[in-house]
Each structure stands twice: as C-alpha cells, then as structure tokens.
C-alpha cells in the first residue's frame, strides 16, 4: 500500500484524506464500547429522525406552502452547518488544518481533498437525504426533477464548504483560550434557541399556521443555497428565468465560499500560531484591588470562606461552571414563564427554580476536574470534608435561596394565587434542602468527570453514573421532601387552611436539618474515598 505513495508523480490527496477520516472515525469508536454504543445509538436516532423529516417532506408534496417550507428548511439547515464548527470545534480532527501545516501541500489540491473528506460522515448523509426529500416535495415535472438533482448537489456542497470555511476562519479564535471559553458558552445559545424553535413550532401547529411562513420564504428564496430549492419550485411553475437566477446565485455562492476558504487557509497556515501570540501577552493586571478583598472580607474565615471565594470565582471565570449556573438560573425562571405563555401557568411551576439550583450540588468534585488533588491533599479528617462540603453548599445557598424566593414571589404575583404562596415557598425550600443532601451524597459516591473542552458535561463512559446519580438523587430528594408534602395535604384535608403559613418556617427548618444531615453523612464518605473520587474526576 505504502509503496504506491513513494511513486514519482504526487498521488491524489483525496483517497489519503478520506482514508484518514475513516481511520480517525474507527479509532474513535474503538476507544471504548460505551463510545461505540453511544455513536451507534445516536446514528440510529439521527437516521430515524432524518427518515421522519424526509417522509414528512414527501407527504407535503403538492400542498400550498410546500415551497416556502422547503426553502426555510434549507436555510435553517445551512445555518446549522455554519454554526456547527463554532460549537463543536473538537468534533472533527481533520477539520483543523493547522495540523497539516508541516506537510508540503498546495492550497488547491488540499481544498479539494478536505471538501471530499467533509462529505464522508453521518451529517452530510442526513443533509443529502433531507434536501432530496425537499426536492421531492416541490419538484413538479421532468425538468424540475433534473434541476432538483443539480440543486441537491449544490446545496450539500455549499453546506459542507460553508462549515469548512467558517471552521478555518475561526480556528485562530477557537484555539485560543478565550475562544474555547466562548465555544463552551455557545451551548447555552443552542439550548435557548431550542426553546425559541419550540415556541415557533407551537405557533405553526395552529390552524393555517403555515401561511406565516410565506413572507419569510419569499425573502429566503433568494438567499443561496435555499435559492436552489426555490429554482426547483420555479421550474415546476414554468418560471425558467427565476429558476436560472436561483441556481446561478447558489453556484456563485459556492465559488465565493471556496475562494474565501482557500484564502483564509493560506493565511492561517503561513501565520504564527495563537499560542505564540498569547505567550507574548503581558500580565493582565487582574483587578487585584479592593473589590475582591471587600467581597472576601464578608465571607467567613478559615476553610469555609476560602472555599466559598474559590467557588464564586469559578462560577464566573470557569466557562463550564458559568454555563451550568446560567442554565440553572435561566431555565429556573424560563419554565414558569413558558408555562404561563402557553396559558398553563401555575404557582407550582416555580418548583423548577429550586429543582434546577439544587441540582448544582451534584458532582461537586467533578467540577474541580483533576485539580481536586489540591482539595484531597488538604482533607485529612471527616471534619475537613464536612467543612469543604458545607462551604460549597453555602455558596450555592447564597445564590439559590434569594433566587428561589424571587421566583416564588414572582410567580405568586403574576400567576398567583397568593393563598398558595406559603406552601409553595416552604416546599421549595424543602426540596432545595433535600437536593443539597442527596447532592452531597452523590458527590461522594458517584463522582464523574466534566471534560473542560467542548459542550460535553460528562466524560465518555461515565454518562450512566451521571444520569443515575441525577435521577436517583432527584427521586430520593422528592421522597425526603414528602413529610412536608404530607403536612400540606393534611392541613388542607383537616380544613386548617389558616395554618398554612406554618409550612414556611417548617419547610425552612426542615431544609436546614435535612441538608446538614446529608452533609454529615457524606463527609466521612468523601474523606474515605479521596483517591477514588480523584480517579473518577480526572478522566476529562
């Protein structure tokens, strides 16, 4: 095999690169069976989902708004391809051209080879299927079908070239520390975007909802590569001029993309690396002044205050911590708002705030990554472990208690009724306390690694532990809160509604007690399992 490579004429790069991609894919799967299973499962689900979309598109054939819908779908698909490399920079090693810098390769053959490599994979296959489905939905007649084949090829090529070009243009940013931090936070936008799509989808589900799409489709119809889909539609209606213009626009876009990609690739491979530029940077003179010392002075002394200060700094500076805080705070508030927007508002939706913030107590040491050894080397007794856990719980409570209060008061004021305020507030605090208790216990018994790069929040092979500890812990915490629930029900049944306010102090005291008990039980387990915890959180 290798003897061919030494032949005098330089062989085509395409088979070499395609083989490299397949090898990387295969080796990635070989690393662990868990990974293989995850890949197969996600591939099967992806294909099933794609099949569903394709079937849906084919079923749309001949309906009134099929044209607009396919154009919008293509535009969305393209947008997905454009942003994907920003959020999953480490997803594809062949995507990083800086790895090829030392090889004597000319830009033009390199571009061709990279483009061919990009066409290998589940993503391009799914795109091909969806676009084909879209063409089937709108193609009317033989001429339209022929144009459709051309459109499919153009759209897939534009999508792939766009992803590659964006990846190349942003590789400088993404290989710098700040860029990677931003990429991690990008997951937040994806999550929030899904909520937006959710709302839009519900709007479209209404009677004649699809007609909303027409104006948008009319605009996107001239934006490549959606313009190619518009062209297929136009040929069916005999508008050959518009069709030719749409196809030409898409082809032009493809040419421009390839040109831009080649240009950035050349610049990238002949300019200094970002790590070199970073090392030259001077001391950033982080505000070492009074502000932090002022905050530090408010915290208690000893281990408690030290750990709290570090945890608070991490919540702001560490992108993973920041994202998980933002998720909890954002969704804790979003759930009541979303339900209210759908007309299903209830004061009980405010439980989301304490549920989501309480879950922050889980996998405390996984958030430390392998730096946990610094904590482990200073924990000698169960007392040390208790102080460590208590400091982390206090930091969490510092944010969670005011936040839960705010959300419960807010839902009571805007959704109501105020008569349920005390019981909801008391139960919320009880749930929070229960989650602190089970979270401390899960942190001791089921720690797992959080990879610091990319969007993953669990290291490969540890997803099972993560889900079991989260769901199991949530169930146990609900059981722990059940005495409060029983008291609430009893007060209602016994007709003692005037005494419902009791639930607030009882809930607060119960939360404090149960959380302290949980920390006390977890502390000796943490102290006894330090090496095991360190091993479990060092896999990222």
């Amino acid at each position: 095999m290798s003897t061919h490579a030494t032949a005098a004429a330089p062989p085509s790069l395409v088979p070499v690169f395609v083989r490299l991609k397949l090898t990387l894919l295969r080796n990635g799967l070989r690393q662990s069976t868990g990974r293989t299973v995850a890949y197969v499962v996600s591939a099967v689900f992806g294909l099933l989902f794609t099949a569903g979309v394709v079937l849906g598109l084919v079923a749309l054939r001949g309906t009134a708004h099929a044209g607009a819908l396919t154009v919008i779908l293509t535009a969305l698909l393209t947008l997905g391809w454009a942003v994907m490399p920003l959020f999953f920079p480490s997803g594809d090693e062949t995507l990083d051209p800086t790895r090829l810098v030392m090889l004597p390769l000319r830009p033009r053959p390199l571009i061709g080879a990279l483009l061919a490599t990009s066409l290998v994979g589940v993503g391009p296959l799914g795109t091909l299927a969806v676009v084909t489905g879209a063409v089937v939905a709108v193609a009317d007649g033989t001429a339209a079908a022929l144009v459709g084949v051309l459109a499919v090829v153009l759209v897939v090529l534009v999508c792939v070239a766009l992803a590659r070009a964006v990846a190349t243009a942003s590789v400088r940013l993404l290989t710098s520390r700040r860029g990677r931090d931003l990429a991690v936070l990008g997951g937040l936008f994806v999550a929030l975007g899904f909520q937006g799509i959710n709302i839009v989808a519900q709007r479209l589900g209404g009677p004649d909802g699809l007609s909303v799409l027409e104006p948008l489709g009319g605009v996107l119809r001239w934006v490549p590569p959606a313009a190619a889909l518009g062209a297929v539609d136009d040929v069916g209606h005999g508008a050959y001029g518009r069709a030719a213009a749409g196809l030409a626009l898409t082809a032009l876009a493809l040419g421009l993309l390839l040109w831009w990609w080649q240009r950035t690739l050349t610049t990238l491979m002949t300019a200094p690396d970002s790590s070199t530029l970073q090392a030259v940077e001077k001391d950033s003179a982080r505000r070492a002044g009074g502000e932090e010392r002022g905050l530090a002075r408010l915290l208690p002394g000893g281990r408690t205050g030290t750990v709290m200060l570090r945890t608070l700094r991490y919540a702001w500076r560490d992108p993973k911590s920041k994202m998980s805080w933002a998720m909890s705070l954002g969704f804790g508030l979003l759930v009541p708002i979303l339900y209210a927007a759908q007309g299903n508002g209830s004061i009980y939706t405010s439980f989301s705030a304490s549920a989501l913030l309480g879950l922050q107590m889980y996998n405390q040491f996984g958030q430390d990554t392998s730096a946990f050894w610094m904590v482990a080397s200073t924990i000698a007794t169960p007392r040390d472990a208790f102080e460590e856990l208590r400091a982390r719980a206090l930091t969490l409570a510092l944010v969670a208690v005011p936040y839960v209060t705010l959300v419960v008061v807010g839902t009571a004021a805007f959704i109501g009724p105020w008569s349920d305020f005390f019981q909801v507030y008391g139960l919320s605090l009880g749930l929070l306390g229960g989650l602190f208790a089970t979270g401390a216990m899960a942190s001791a018994l089921f720690p797992y690694s959080i990879p610091s790069d990319g969007n993953k929040s669990v290291a490969p092979g540890q997803a099972g532990i993560a889900w079991i500890s989260l769901f199991g812990g949530f169930l146990v915490a609900s059981v722990l809160a059940s005495p409060l629930l029983a008291l609430t029900v009893w007060l209602h049944v016994a007709g003692l509604q005037s005494l419902l306010w009791v639930l607030l102090p009882v809930g607060a005291a119960y939360a404090l007690g149960i959380a302290t008990l949980g920390l006390k039980l977890a502390a000796p387990r943490v102290a006894a399992r330090l090496p095991e915890i360190l091993a479990a959180v060092s896999k990222g």
Binding site: R303, G305, R313, Y314, R317, T369, A371
Partner: protein, 279 residues
C-alpha cells in the same frame, strides 16, 4: 562504551544506608507495594526506604511506575496492597499526621487554573489552615524568588509549562513541609526556570528537609541528588547513595542503562537509508 555491565545487588530496604546518619525514622518507608491497572501491573511489590534529609532522585524510563508510586506514597492513589509510612506515620491510617508534613507537585494533574497565581497560593495556604497574613507574606516571597511576581495576577490557565511548575512548587512549599514530593519537576521547563527551581530546592534541603523527585534525565539527577532509587517495569532495580548506585560506571546514565538492560540496543542496520540527501 564497552565497559563490563556492573551488577548491582538489590538492597534490602530496611538496612541503614551508609550515606545518611540515621537518627529518626526514614522519610519514606515502603513495603510490598502493589498496583495493578486491569491486566497491567504498574508497581510490582516494591520495597524502598528513603532516608530523611537527602535530595533523593527516583529515576526510571517512561512507564516504569514512578508516577504511580509517588501517587500512592502521597495518598492520591490507593494501592492494591502494601505499606507506606512517611516519617513513621502510615499514609492511609494516619492522614492527619502525614498530610501536613508533605508537599506534593504531581504530574498530569491540573491546578485550579482559573485562579491567578497569587489567588491560587492564597487559596491553598488557607486551605492548609495557615493564618491569612502569613499565607500572603509567604506567597509574596515565593512569587518573588520563583520569578513569578510579574505574572502573579495572570490566570494560571494562561501560564507556560515552566510557570505552572513554578507555581505548583510554590503551592507545595507554602506550608513548609518536611518532605517534598515532586513528579518530573523539570519536564518541559526552560533552563532559566529550571535553574530557579534548583536554587529553591537546594536552599530547602540545606536546612535538613527531604526532597524526593522523579525524573528520567540522568544528568540532572546526578548533579542534584545524593541518593537515588532506580525503577524499571514496576520494580526497584537499585537504591542507595549516588556513588554506590553508580558504582564503577563512568556516569549514572551508563549505570542506569546497565540496570534497566537497555545498553547495546543500538539503532539497527535496518535504517541504512537514513542520513538526509537522496529521498
């Protein structure tokens, strides 16, 4: 070199070494230490006694089990079986006595990198229960001596390898431990930083403290240490004062290659095409 391979007797760990005046308990005593990772045995039932007050090098090729051994000795990794005592205290039964006496700079584990160098020292010092004012005083001096004062407010995540090693060393020294464990402290460190680290370590041992560090750079170990233990394939091949382990070999490097059985394994004649020029 075609000198005779010097046979080295494996020393029994418990006997007193001629190099050090044995007054108190040894710095580290290891008996029958085992660690397996799945099929692979990383540490193969080693016995080792390291005297206090010395600059001790643990040398061995990559994969010899140095990091695994140091992790088990410092309480970061649980052994499958065996005994580890530091200053006469069992590491696993008496962590209170051990953890305050040792400083550790592990290899391959992170620091809290989203803190600045100064914040990291303030954090670890207070975590070790030192008074805040004392921590800040010591941190300022350490940052100064280790040439990190100019980058003390930069996040550790933006530090270079040499700077990371230096801030890790500062964190390990902050509570003035009796015994310092350093895993590859000079790996990837530039010569200037290496010299700084050396200076600090020499000052530290001159007052009677013990440094135990692992390395595969023999010249470095030979110039720094007065006591060495040679490790290969999970076993201790030799231990004792430097001169004794080196024996008649011209350098520690030669003695080491003889001990691990790697001498004479020259680049074969299969590479006859190598040498630049024609492709």
């Amino acid at each position: 070199m075609a000198s005779e391979p010097v046979e080295k007797q494996e020393q029994d760990g418990s006997s007193a070494t001629p190099g050090g005046a044995v007054t108190g308990p040894p710095a580290v005593r290891i008996e029958g230490l085992w660690k397996r990772f799945g099929e692979q045995t990383a540490v193969h039932g080693i016995d080792l006694t390291l005297p206090a007050g010395h600059f001790i090098g643990l040398v061995g090729p990559n994969g010899a089990g140095k990091t695994t051994t140091l992790s088990m000795v410092t309480g970061l990794l649980r052994p499958d079986s065996g005994l580890v005592e530091i200053g006469g205290h069992d590491v696993w039964r008496d962590p209170v006595a051990v953890k305050s006496r040792i400083g550790v700079l592990p290899e391959g584990l992170r620091l809290f990198e989203r803190l600045s160098g100064r914040e990291l020292l303030a954090y670890i010092g207070r975590l070790r229960g030192l008074p805040g004012a004392e921590v800040d005083k010591r941190a300022a001096q350490l940052l100064d001596v280790l040439d990190l004062a100019g980058s003390q407010h930069k996040l550790v995540v933006d530090y270079s390898t040499g700077m990371r090693k230096k801030i890790g060393l500062a964190a390990a020294l902050l509570h003035n431990p009796e015994i310092l464990f350093l895993d590859e402290p000079f790996e990837g460190v530039d010569p200037v930083s290496a010299q700084t680290i050396r200076g600090v370590l020499e000052r530290y041992t001159s007052s009677g403290a013990t440094v135990i560090f692992s390395s595969h750079v023999m010249e470095l170990v030979e110039s720094l240490c007065d006591w060495v233990a040679v490790m290969a394939a999970g076993r201790i091949r030799a231990q004792g004062p430097l001169a004794e382990v080196r024996g008649e070999a011209p350098s520690l490097q030669d003695a080491f290659l003889g001990l691990v059985g790697a001498r004479g394994r020259a680049a074969g004649q299969n590479l006859d095409w190598l040498g630049g020029g024609a492709r």
